[in-house]
């Protein structure tokens, strides 16, 4: 659908687990059953279109994405309602509440979820050359020279 001189931009979380933090202290992780696998699969999908010579990576970077709540209970509810198959376990909630209780709440520190996100910009390459590998009957695309 993109023009030959257009581009594809992908943003997706890394396969690393999302962490609960209070200030600089990590209190646990978000239990997101299949998220690491899904996010790793996104990386594999990007690598595949590059390997097949369909796209070239023009730029890639990663950044940290924080989601804050006023309370850990609020964050927990948000995660359950808005993330796919995700939850925060009771022990993590307790640790987060305890960390917040150490005078930080009065300083305006809020609990947060930390995610590492990968951003990639890809450019479509010239139409790949299709060759028929007669030896094994597989048709594959060759990247342009």
């Amino acid at each position: 659908m993109a023009k030959p001189d257009g581009c594809v931009v992908d943003l997706h979380p890394s396969a690393a687990p999302a962490l609960l933090e209070v200030g600089a202290r990590t209190t646990g992780r978000v239990d997101a059953a299949d998220a690491p696998l899904r996010h790793a699969a996104a990386g594999v999908a990007l690598a595949a279109v590059v390997d097949e010579g369909l796209f070239a990576i023009e730029r890639a970077l990663n950044f940290t994405f924080y989601t804050y709540g006023d309370t850990i209970e609020e964050l927990r509810e948000y995660i359950v309602e808005n993330w796919r198959n995700a939850q925060i376990d009771d022990e993590t909630v307790d640790r987060t509440r305890e960390a917040l209780g150490a005078g930080l709440r009065s300083q305006g520190v809020r609990p947060r979820v930390r995610e590492q996100v990968l951003a990639t910009k890809l450019r479509p390459l010239a139409r790949p050359i299709l060759v028929n590998a007669e030896a094994n009957g597989v048709t594959r695309a060759l990247p342009p020279r």
Partner: protein, 94 residues
């Protein structure tokens, strides 16, 4: 509820590195949700098609950004003419 996503605007900064200007560009956003990212470029872009299977989220986007062509569909249902857009943006959707 006071959930605050990316108040540091790291995501917007990253998008700005990837696409310094959306001016005059035709954009398709896959996985637009409620428009968290869409609102950052919709005003500058020539046109925006934003899709997401979540009807409630798309309704929020439409209420805020009526000029965006927002559709409650998945990527499998998206049909566009070849070479009709400048940027395809996958927003946390791969």
């Amino acid at each position: 509820m006071a959930i605050d996503e990316d108040p540091e605007e790291h995501e917007v900064a990253a998008l700005g590195v990837m696409v310094p200007s959306f001016a005059s560009l035709r954009v398709v956003e896959i996985g637009c949700g409620d428009g968290r990212l869409t609102r950052r470029f919709a005003g500058a872009a020539a046109s925006v098609i934003a899709i997401d299977p979540d009807a409630d989220a798309v309704a929020e986007l439409t209420a805020e950004l009526p000029n965006v062509d927002a559709r409650v569909i998945g990527i499998d249902e998206l049909v566009l003419p070849a070479a009709s857009v400048d940027i395809v943006l996958f927003a946390w959707s791969l």
